[in-house]
Symmetry: D2
Subunit: 455 residues, 4 copies
């Protein structure tokens, strides 16, 4: 309610301000609009925080919203090309620094070389609702960059600024439940990126059951917009498959009986904030939050997809793994394999070591772990605890990983060690079961077919 | 309550984090503490947002708080000298840019030359309560800079970062009244810088009367800390003196009868945020707020001190004004002049033109208006409306301006024009009465004595 | 969040209390449960607010919830028969009063004759969540009364107590919009009694458009439970039909352009509070609320169903109206009449006077206006402003009123007069158009068929 | 904020309503005002919740406030005499019940005999702010009853209604701390009845220290008005004296180190709610609240005054105790006894058994325990744990109990048993030390002087 109050208020200020602006009328021909908007940006930069600054900022953001895609791209090009640093100032500052050294001179180089875009963004941000508008603008920019990589110079400035504005210290964790505003819940439905939410009833099952939790980070300037959220299931033991967690009808676990908390979905909400990392902080804070509420929960795991597995299997030319990979590929040609007991059992036996190998041994050309989800959790210090063939038999699950899911475990006592070993030496922390499964690949390397079920 | 909740939570995270840090013990000898802290800062910068980052940041800020003044100064020197940009990176970036030009290369110069302090501050800010701690650290720095101007390079980074973090778009206006938390009210009492508040009863008169308002800007990360606040009196006409506004017993004006809103005190609260300007935005938003609540109020003025008047009179060697200045100085030698009707009347007649001249004609060596309060309001687009001799007969008022106060008027229709004229040509917007009074100075220039009361 | 906090807290108190209760175990055979519960109620009454009172109350309410319908009925009979006043006390008090007269003695009769049920309900109410549980209990009672009218003595006590507890002075008006908690919105969907809400998208159209409002009364002890709510459309002129208001796609009216506010649905939410009237207060407060927000809105009307019209027409034997009624009945035999232009036009011409007559002249045997919705609005002081044939062509609308809807207008200047005239002399306030239409019935009394469209 | 919003809104409704009332002007002569007001009350009762009801109720309460004490008394007499039950209805109902018996007839007697005052109060309560106004009206009534006991019939109705409206189930517990609104804190200062709070600094010591807590019950209709509050000190062991708890400078106890929570002050705030008991519920809920927050606290005690001790000693003619009482009286003639080591030691030795005897053996004529504070805590199920001579050496403490204070202990395991034994057999639960001290009195009965310090 305060929110509405303030946004009304700010809107009225901006409106009044607008009336004192002597704005050039909005060009009728689309071509000139980007140029006109760039001119307004120059005017905003030339002022010094004066009367009309807030109104002018609001007007620029408002007009921007009405641009078509091409005009937006043209506007971005103008920002990228004409709002960089002042060349003379940079050269002079560098010359001074070359001559004198010294910290003050070095700082001069930095401040002299600040692209004027950054001050522009800071001034735009003074208008009501501007932070959301700027985040949306960067989402547009990311689209535009597909066609014009030269815009990345502009994107770098956005990313730098958002990294500072959306600093962890400014984020607020809130639990999302059935007493949350509909305006927020609707966004949870929309933004869920891992296991789609099929409407309000499905949402309610995920946030309004005694054994479910949902938490999100918010920024004070984006009141109704979650930045990232995580869905958690409280269970007796870590689950091996997603379907039972999402089932319409299922037995509920009394929270004080639960011993495991499973993070089964983490979704970033704002395309315009991509590159600003929240996930690591979110998981750790939610672990603390749940420990506080339910001290008996000792195990914190994920139930995670393996989005890169199938592509890797398809392209696998690793001598140790290729035979097994080929066998899996072949078996998967029969789309009904999950429903045929023998074939299913054989796939289980093949997928576990193959996936273990994929995580522990396979590497990209740059030497990094192949799976993006693995890079995230391992980078946070988690341990690859278990491989679950048949974890996700949805079309998507089969298509990206033959149905394999995994559990990453967050163990506070070893997070630091795991993180360092992964970051510095690329060591993947894994349970002995996973290590053993990976080790088995080599042994099987010569087998040309799936293992028999009873193998 | 949320606040307490989150700070508890965050504290517990930090605590847990600390237990996994392998921190070197805190040196017993003070001399090594600054160095030890700088080492911890290096460790924080070397990590990549990992598990212990938040805990390490909290530990640095906690230890910093225990340092004595000398150790703080030593720590600041370390930050100023050892956390600048990487010299090689800057040179390489500059060389690339010199060779290629181009916006991306220019941006590289900027990002390569960022003092590592800035990333350090951003990482420190992830800890619970860090924003307040960093603001307090800069307040310490400002103290330390008195003895060591070389620290200004560090201050520049603080100021840049705070300018971005405390952007207008992130501030929230809140009315302060008798239903506000005591924790905030106590700070209003403490931070009032213009007309001291003599305790809770005095405070109550200023915020809990039907014809008084108080508004403050807050930042979401500094929950109980006002950044700047303004006190407003609703009156029938703009007041000419401060004492009646602050009197213990006085008639109250029904808000719907009031026609003027007088800003009689504006106080910045955070020494650590000096240089980040809020006042301009605050005044304009409060004007809107009051217009919304009380549409019949049409006149928005200040009742402001003139802190630079007496010093200027004392040193006055302006040929046009010096005779009048001398006469005023002489008359003021009798400290009881305000209680002697004839002398008081003579002073009134002399002070009005002299003050008008001070505002309209007198200039500092750099060509700027002498009075700092005038620079603020005129820079915001206000008009010097009226000079009030005998406006503030407190010791402080007599000491700094012979008791003169002035009204600056905020007229939405002319703010923009006034601001531009002042910013670009140094033109002081003033009412015709003030202009006329200033013009009178020259005419009097030859008079060697105060005008007679009936003059 | 506070709510959850307090309910947790209270739950834990109750739980602890329960552990100190030495409760008899819950009988296995259903038959004895009502008796066992009644015994617990006696125990609660015998205590004096002591340690276990809150726990015992909570236990009674908890066990009650597990009863089947028959057991609930048995429990109600026990309350009705065994928890009345103490016969001896009443007789003694009456004797004293007969002997002495006097106000104190009269009061004694009152307090001596209070059914012990009332004190029982008050003590039950001390448990956490008890108010909601008691409201639910009365809903059960209302069901049970269908089979056993003797329970009405118990219902009278509930009604008396709820009338006191849900006094207007304790209700809070809140706007319902898209930022309201889902837990409340879901109830709006469920409780809408006039024009069913078809799910979350339909709800959103009704509460999240610029030209729609929804307000509800809440009681502080029933946090997530609206008591009654009203849906309002802001329009240029009072609407004559419901379908355009509820259409999925429709033009929106800017609030500052709207000149009429139409109350198109009022729903009571709590069966257990039937007989406690909120609607009158709700409408009047919402009128004020909207006037405050949108001073340009001058017309406040309803768009209301006429639920009694068809039944009255079907049974009509009023000499003046029966011919017209018969013609309407006949015409309605063709269910497609609304789609046939000639028949539709004829029905319009017939229904308007017939409905006007129904409101203005027709009366029940007890002399009251036939239509229950009319009794409500006319009793509140509204005026019957306009009759809208073809107002609601849904199955329900055709079935209960041949599609007729009406507008009642709330005119602050005449509410008092209308109310008094209606309450005291049964005078129906109506616009001259409606009066004229009613007067026309007599003239048509001899016509045996629908008027021709062009008539 | 909401509060202000609603009260504004309600005020505007009432105002509008007033304009449609045709109120008789307020009589100029005071004598007729009470009668005029009573007439308005009759008008309010005669209406049926119509348009002007809320406005009329507001007007009555507003005019009431302007009455002088005598007029209020006259108004109360009118309410007591002319707003009782309808005599005929009562007699008819009684006759029907005599004839038929039956629960419905019995209920008729009850409802027929309801004094019309009660419906009047319920209707008055519909106006904005009415609940507070009615509570204030009863405070006036209690004053007026000193002179006119006949008004008690009116008071009984107030008490009955308030008992229902302020039912435990409608109260909300809130912690009071330094983030509470000043409007509430100021009332804590004003209402503290046990150990006066000497201003804001003293208040802050009591609510803003890590080892202090304060909780209050609120009613939703009295937003800024605490009903009752308790101050709690967290300590290592139960304290024996009040001064160290209230000292300006004292060591603080870390909450997780504390093992005892001491309730050292409980104050009722609303004179108009006297007779409605909250204290029992408050203590028990605060015990739960603290156990939740600080599970290590196991001991819950009070540090309580003994307000009846000195008066009992002064009048003591109990053969067993009178010699000791006389000796104490004599010793207390020297007002400096507390500062003289020998006399102080002798008093300690005498006061402990004498006070123990006072609690355990002494009884009023009606058989009840003499001390009102003891009756409260023992009635709640607490145990008299320890007698602390020299517990309160303030003037008040010495004057009412020779400085004796006591600790009552709340032990959840025995509260129920203690309560029952006290309520039913008058048994005072006490520690063995207190029992032993009381037993010692008889042995000393013959001694004519204080025991020697080393005795």
């Amino acid at each position: 309610m305060d929110t509405a109050f303030f946004s009304d208020l700010l809107a009225s200020i901006a409106e009044r301000g607008r009336s004192v602006l002597k704005l050039s009328p909005w060009p009728r021909d689309a071509e000139n609009r980007a140029a006109s908007l760039a001119d307004m940006c120059r005017a905003l930069l030339s002022g010094r925080g004066e009367a009309s600054g807030v109104a002018l900022a609001g007007e620029i953001l408002g007009r921007y919203r009405t641009l078509g895609d091409d005009d937006k791209a043209a506007f971005f090009r103008a920002l990228a090309e004409d709002f960089g640093p002042d060349r003379d100032r940079v050269e002079n500052a560098f010359a001074r620094w070359s001559a004198t050294g010294g910290e003050a001179a070095a700082a001069d180089v930095h401040y002299a070389s600040e692209p004027r875009r950054q001050e522009l963004f800071r001034r735009l941000n003074r208008a009501p609702g501007a932070t959301a508008a700027l985040v949306a603008m960067r989402a547009d920019l990311i689209e535009a960059m597909r066609a014009d990589r030269g815009l990345s110079v502009l994107d770098r400035d956005f990313l730098h600024l958002f990294g500072s504005w959306f600093n962890r210290g400014f984020l607020v964790l809130r639990r999302i439940d059935w007493s949350s505003p509909a305006a927020i819940l609707e966004k949870i439905i929309r933004y869920e990126a891992v296991h789609a939410i099929g409407g309000w009833d499905d949402l309610r099952r995920r946030i309004d059951s005694v054994d479910r939790r949902c938490y999100a980070f918010f920024h004070p300037a984006l009141v109704d917009e979650p930045l990232i959220f995580v869905e958690v299931a409280l269970t007796l033991t870590p689950p091996a498959a997603i379907a039972p967690l999402l089932a319409e009808r299922r037995a509920h676990v009394a929270p004080d009986k639960a011993r495991a908390a499973t993070f089964y979905s983490i979704s970033n909400c704002q395309q315009g904030l991509s590159g600003v990392s929240f996930g690591n902080f979110l998981i750790k804070q939610v672990v603390e939050e749940i420990r506080r509420e339910l001290p008996r929960i000792e195990t914190f795991v994920t139930l995670s997809p393996v989005p890169g597995l199938r592509a890797w299997v398809d392209a696998c030319d690793d001598p140790a793994a290729e035979a097994l990979a080929a066998a899996v590929r072949d078996a998967a040609l029969d789309e009904d394999w999950p429903t045929k007991p023998d074939e299913e059992a054989a796939m289980r036996k093949a997928l576990e070591p193959l996936a273990a190998y994929y995580f522990l041994r396979a590497r990209r050309n740059d030497g990094r772990v192949v799976d993006p989800v693995a890079r995230f959790h391992l980078g946070n210090g988690a341990r690859l605890e278990r491989i679950n063939p048949m974890g996700d038999l949805s079309d998507k699950g089969l298509a990206e990983s033959f149905g394999v899911m995994v559990n990453y475990q967050y163990d506070l006592g070893e997070i630091e060690r795991n993180h360092e070993a992964f970051a510095n030496q690329g060591v993947v922390a894994a349970s002995s079961a996973v290590k053993k499964a990976a080790a088995g690949v080599k042994a099987r390397a010569t087998a040309a077919a799936l293992p028999a079920p009873g193998d």
